[in-house]
Symmetry: C2
Subunit: 422 residues, 2 copies
């Protein structure tokens, strides 16, 4: 491309994004993001920031004062949490059950941590006892664990880990990027000290803003490492032994920017903030439990549908996330060719996979704005068509039929409960 041929304005093809995320944004989120800007200290802007904090307290189910968004993708949220919590030399325990556990290890190592890992095969999760045993052996300062890992489709149960961490004096961090909004997460009830997420999965927004929340214990640890910016530091000011290694991700400074002091740090990404606020507003309006139930329903329909086509699924179904399923690619079928036909002929995107699952499974998501009946049925009908064309043996109508049954059961339950109420 030379500059003599100016590219056209943005006009993307219509896609139905049924992979592991990003998925289509809710049109209401995009509308919120089309609003004109205001100044970063405009009363309207600071009110939006305060409302965003309160809305995410609802989404994360927490009373944490320090509940805000980090300006960057979900990975930025992870790094902000880890670089602010970890002092170089700290021992960190990372239970790894998929790709994103490796990412937590990688980031913790770059933060200077002495990282210890335990692993289970992809598709499985850890028993709480196994994590407690490792905590006793490693005596880490921090436990860092992914909740739902889209690479394997399973979610690590977290409900018992907070008590274990508290008992052993360990801070407890988790990444809920893939699970938040579509699966039950109880930040306070489960005793989690730091949680980070992203918009591009069940929150129905675009990547680029990382909601996060921090307990009093986490905040104390972070604020203790606060260093005063070089430009305004005065002789005699205390210098911490291990200042936070990043300026952009220094949560102590970010807390002061979001708090009543409004100390200047970065220039808040206004349009992403508008989007992040609307994602949370829609979830709180729907009710978090209702949103989780919606993901459970459409995830169940998709699971029943792919099984109804005669396809096998991967991973421990007892711990499968509501919002994604890993489908074994049938023998003799070229997985990438099938994905390409779905995209090119039907405008539907499903996901490939990483590491040990590469070439073995497709990952199909039902999340956020795309956790709907029409998207599930359309995807199953299209999948049947392209699989048949690829010469695979599929049960005719088995996918859509099995999903219809799930929806019929749900419709009956709704009628029964509204009848009971009448």
């Amino acid at each position: 491309m030379s500059l003599s041929s100016l590219p056209q304005p943005i006009n993307p093809p219509q896609r139905l994004l049924m992979g592991p995320g990003p998925i289509n944004a809710d049109p209401r989120v995009l509308r919120a993001m089309s609003a004109q800007l205001v100044g970063q200290y405009d009363p309207a802007m600071t009110a939006y920031m305060n409302e965003t904090m309160e809305l995410y307290r609802g989404v994360f189910k927490t009373a944490n004062e320090q509940t805000l968004v980090v300006d960057g993708t979900s990975r930025a949220g992870i790094e902000a949490a880890l670089v602010s919590l970890i002092e170089p030399g700290d021992r960190v325990l990372v239970p790894i059950f998929g790709r994103f556990g490796h990412l937590l290890r990688e980031i913790a190592e770059r933060c200077g941590a002495e990282v210890h890992v335990i692993e289970v095969p992809w598709g499985e999760v850890f028993a709480p006892e196994a994590i407690e045993a490792a905590i006793i052996e490693v005596q880490p300062a921090l436990l860092a664990v992914v909740h739902g890992d889209t690479s394997t489709t399973v979610a690590q149960p977290l409900d018992e880990l907070g008590a274990i961490c508290a008992q052993h004096g360990v801070l407890f961090y988790t990444d809920v990027t893939a699970s938040l909004g579509g699966n039950t997460i109880e930040t306070d009830a489960w005793g989690i000290d730091a949680v980070t997420a992203g918009l591009q999965k069940c929150l129905a927004g675009p990547s680029g803003s990382a909601p996060a929340t921090f307990s009093t214990k986490a905040v104390e640890r972070i604020v203790a490492r606060k260093s005063i910016e070089a430009g305004i530091r005065e002789a005699g000011d205390a210098v911490t032994a291990h200042p936070i290694r990043s300026n952009y991700f220094d949560l102590a400074m970010i807390f002061d920017y979001w708090g009543p002091k409004r100390l200047n740090h970065h220039t808040e990404a206004t349009t992403m903030l508008y989007g992040a606020r609307e994602c949370a507003r829609l979830l709180v309006d729907e009710g978090i439990e209702n949103a989780v139930e919606r993901h459970r329903l459409h995830g169940s329909a998709m699971l029943a549908g792919v099984q109804g086509l005669g396809l096998a699924v991967f991973g421990d179904l007892a711990h499968k996330m509501n919002n994604v399923v890993a489908v074994m690619i049938p023998d003799g079928v070229n997985g990438d060719a099938v994905r390409g036909e779905l995209l090119n002929d039907f405008g539907i995107e499903i996901g490939t996979s990483f590491g040990p699952l590469h070439g073995k499974v497709w990952r199909i998501g039902t999340m956020g704005y795309n956790a709907r009946r029409d998207t599930v049925l359309t995807t199953l009908a299209a999948l049947e068509a392209v699989l048949r064309r690829a010469g695979a043996s599929v049960t005719p109508g088995g996918g859509v039929g099995a999903a219809y049954e799930i929806y019929a059961d749900a419709d009956r339950a709704v009628r029964a409960s509204s009848g009971a109420g009448a």
Copy 2:
């Protein structure tokens, strides 16, 4: 606020943002950002990424292959450049002439650099000889200098620094967040190795994406520090002595994500990318020189206007940026009260200031979408009204009148040149 009172959808008040940035986004940028998402490896998406690279080569005036956007605010771009270029222990020279020089020092220190600074009073810039003398004394690995610093409104001349750095074997980094698009910047012709920016000033977009470009020499230094992610590292793989301390800001990995390998790193912030691409597309369509000339015209009109009102301005006018002016707050006038009346009664935001200028000057911008005749004249008329109300002595009609004269001269020049062409 309790969750029983759901906040309303985003509906910000109309503001004319005439401060030092962020400013109003061009409506065409917001329209681009309202487009629906596509998958991160969709051919449409990777084409948009490639076009974005090419468009920013035009904006930065460079042939650098590694020209891309970092997902975060302009501060994220600075940190990505510095953490990827600086090895702990490296000597870095930072000439400081305003607030953002202090920020470069602060970030470089957190990267583990041995930072040396030279300073001039706010409002002044460095002679190239002074920077060369410091380079000879310090022998740094990197020179890190802000181009235009909105805190003082002046821009450091950079055109001679590339040759000086090359002669002494020093890498040359500059932050052009405040100046790009509104002031001449010649990445290649001036021999700059690394340049970072943001959208929220003369590029007419929202904060949240950081365009950046890196010379072959910078890329070689960065790629030499590449480390393979923990999850996929194999026994026997070389481990660099000083891996880049950040994963999110590891430019070696970000280059591989934007390059033909498309190695997965973060999930690209699609909506911000749409916006960043449109910002560059509009600038390239206008012509970078024409955009700079537009900023020069409206900046001159605003400068003449505030002087025409009888107000003094701050800083070395010979090095003033085209897009912002610092206006001395008249004696006896409460600067914050005047700013408040402009905002509340006219919907116009002008800027306060930092550090030694706090309480002494307002900063008024004419940049990006707001570098227009109507915005300049409206702001000057409103400023006269609120100053008179505050009891200040102003020349009646002197602001608008002086700006009209600048525009009349420009109109005559246009007529003359179109007449000469007929």
